[in-house]
């Protein structure tokens, strides 16, 4: 069986060959394998230099000062560090956090943990286009609010939040603002130098870097204080201890360097491919795009297909590697909590496909995807019964209308 066409770039991306090459040079005896903390010998100091170069590369893509970048094991840890770190540090000042229903589990589960510890959390419900308004945020901030956490690009539906406007609200009200940018870094322009953001989470593996490495931007001016969640040795300004994985960090650095270089052209290319895809499948009828049609990341499309069941749809189009809902929840049969938050009924949420394109996606792949999806949706609709309300005969007519 030939491998499926990969259209799950929002779950993870393959490592770019340029990145893999740099990583390989930091592993074996002939490479820069020493511990960057081994300041007593030149091998260790060389490794340290590599780590600092990568820090500058990551900082450059997002307009940050290198010193404000802290290495973590991924965006999940970055989200935990940012949210718990602020909550625990400022617990005396207030114990209220504002976030939204459609955040990643790394944010939601962290907030739930803080609730168990006695913090209060307000979960904003975005509009049915997936967008959280700055007014909603302003309305939710209380005297005891210490943190607002709103993601930049949503991992399931791809909508882009208005971080600038929400950040301005936070600055005005003197509340720290954390942004999960795992899905936006390298895809959508970010300039932390100009943006009113205090903390921002990044992950390498969404940007053609390796899995298991990420970073947290911790603004030092004005200064955001954090309690670390991993102690020992005091690496990374005491914010995150543990041996720095040179090859992973170098990989993330190179990945962000390449992304900075190619962002603009790639965004245009992917937006065009996504449009081609949408044009191709929307002819089916009974197809809806989940989330705001325009405010969205270049490569991500989440589509709801009426008249077909989710598991069958996913299996029918298995020539394409994609997911329904996010990777994290796709093992369960539960409908995506993000789509439910947008007001989609369960059976429609389950009949949604998240199609995410990326650096190695081609026009031919998109055309094949259109072919496969259209044929299978038509086929499944033909097998499907009518909605409970209508008699059998009518169903048949409906199906016929849609058939080619």
């Amino acid at each position: 069986m030939k491998p499926p066409i990969y259209m799950d770039y929002a779950a993870t991306t393959p490592v770019d060959p340029r990145v893999a090459e740099k990583m390989a040079a930091c592993l074996t005896t002939d490479g820069v394998f020493a511990n960057p903390a081994s300041g007593s010998h030149v091998l260790g100091r060389t490794a340290r230099g590599y780590v600092e170069t990568a820090r500058r590369q990551v900082a450059r893509l997002v307009g940050a000062t290198p010193r404000d970048i802290v290495w973590t094991s991924g965006a999940t840890e970055s989200d935990n560090l940012a949210i718990k770190g602020v909550a625990h540090f400022y617990a005396e000042q207030g114990r209220h956090i504002v976030t939204s229903r459609t955040e990643h589990k790394a944010v939601l589960d962290t907030c739930a943990q803080l609730q168990r510890e006695g913090f209060e959390v307000t979960y904003l419900v975005p509009g049915d286009d997936g967008i959280v308004s700055p007014e909603q945020v302003a309305g939710a901030i209380r005297k005891d609010t210490v943190l607002v956490s709103i993601m930049h690009v949503n991992n399931e539906i791809g909508v882009i939040q208005d971080i600038e406007a929400i950040g301005r609200v936070c600055r005005e009200r003197e509340v720290l603002f954390h942004v999960d940018a795992a899905q936006s870094a390298g895809k959508v322009p970010i300039d932390l130098d100009a943006m009113p953001v205090d903390l921002m989470s990044f992950s390498a593996h969404k940007v053609y870097g390796p899995k298991g490495i990420g970073a947290l931007y911790v603004c030092s001016e004005p200064c955001a204080h954090l309690e670390p969640i991993i102690h020992g040795g005091g690496h990374e300004r005491g914010l995150r201890s543990g041996t720095l994985p040179t090859h992973q960090i170098v990989g993330m650095g190179e990945a962000f360097r390449v992304a900075a270089e190619e962002l603009e052209a790639e965004a245009a290319r992917l937006t065009a491919l996504r449009q081609r895809l949408w044009d191709g499948i929307s002819v089916l009828g009974g197809v809806r795009c989940n989330g705001h049609p325009a405010k969205r990341a270049p490569g991500l499309l989440n589509v709801c297909f009426e008249g077909v069941e989710g598991e069958s749809l996913l299996f029918a189009v298995r020539e394409l590697a994609l997911s329904s809902g996010s990777a994290c929840t796709s093992a369960s049969r539960e409908a995506s909590y993000v789509l439910r938050a947008l007001g989609r009924p369960d059976h429609l949420a389950q009949s949604s496909l998240r199609i995410s394109l990326g650096r190695f996606s081609t026009r031919a792949e998109v055309d094949r995807a259109i072919e496969v999806i259209n044929a299978q949706v038509r086929r499944l609709r033909q097998i499907a019964v009518c909605p409970e309300s209508s008699p059998v005969a009518t169903v048949r007519d409906t199906v016929k209308k849609d058939s080619p």
């Binding site: 059976h347 097998i383 019964v385 059998v392």
Partner: protein, 120 residues
């Protein structure tokens, strides 16, 4: 999710997807979309014996496969017989995992719904 070869076969090439039922055919359905499974049968019956069976299904591949497989088994059977299907046998034939038992149950309910009308 793992699918057996027979499930894949019936999912890919479902048998007897219901065309227009003749006026005297028996119609039955069970399940709902909200529950994720909806099955419908349409049986042509002559003197209590099933001639041709057709189905429609909205559900997972197992549901489609069970319904399709049953339409091959039903012709020649008396409507009385289908009141008591051997569900274990069906599940085993199709290699259904335990969490997919509801697919067989829904199909059984749909068949009963169809035949009850003839019996009742």
């Amino acid at each position: 999710m793992n699918y057996s070869d027979i499930v894949i076969d019936h999912f890919e090439s479902p048998r007897n997807v219901a065309g227009p039922c003749s006026a005297d055919a028996l119609n039955g359905r069970a399940g709902s979309r909200a529950a994720g499974t909806l099955v419908e049968f349409c049986l042509e019956v002559d003197k209590g014996v099933i001639g041709h069976a057709g189905f429609r299904a909205w559900g997972c591949p197992h549901t489609i496969a069970v319904a399709s497989w049953l339409t091959e088994q039903l012709p020649g059977k008396h409507v009385d017989e289908v009141q008591s299907l051997d569900l274990d046998h069906i599940a085993a034939q199709l290699g259904l995992p335990t969490e997919k038992w509801h697919c067989v149950l829904t199909a059984e309910d749909a068949l009963r719904d169809a035949t009850r009308r003839s019996l009742g």
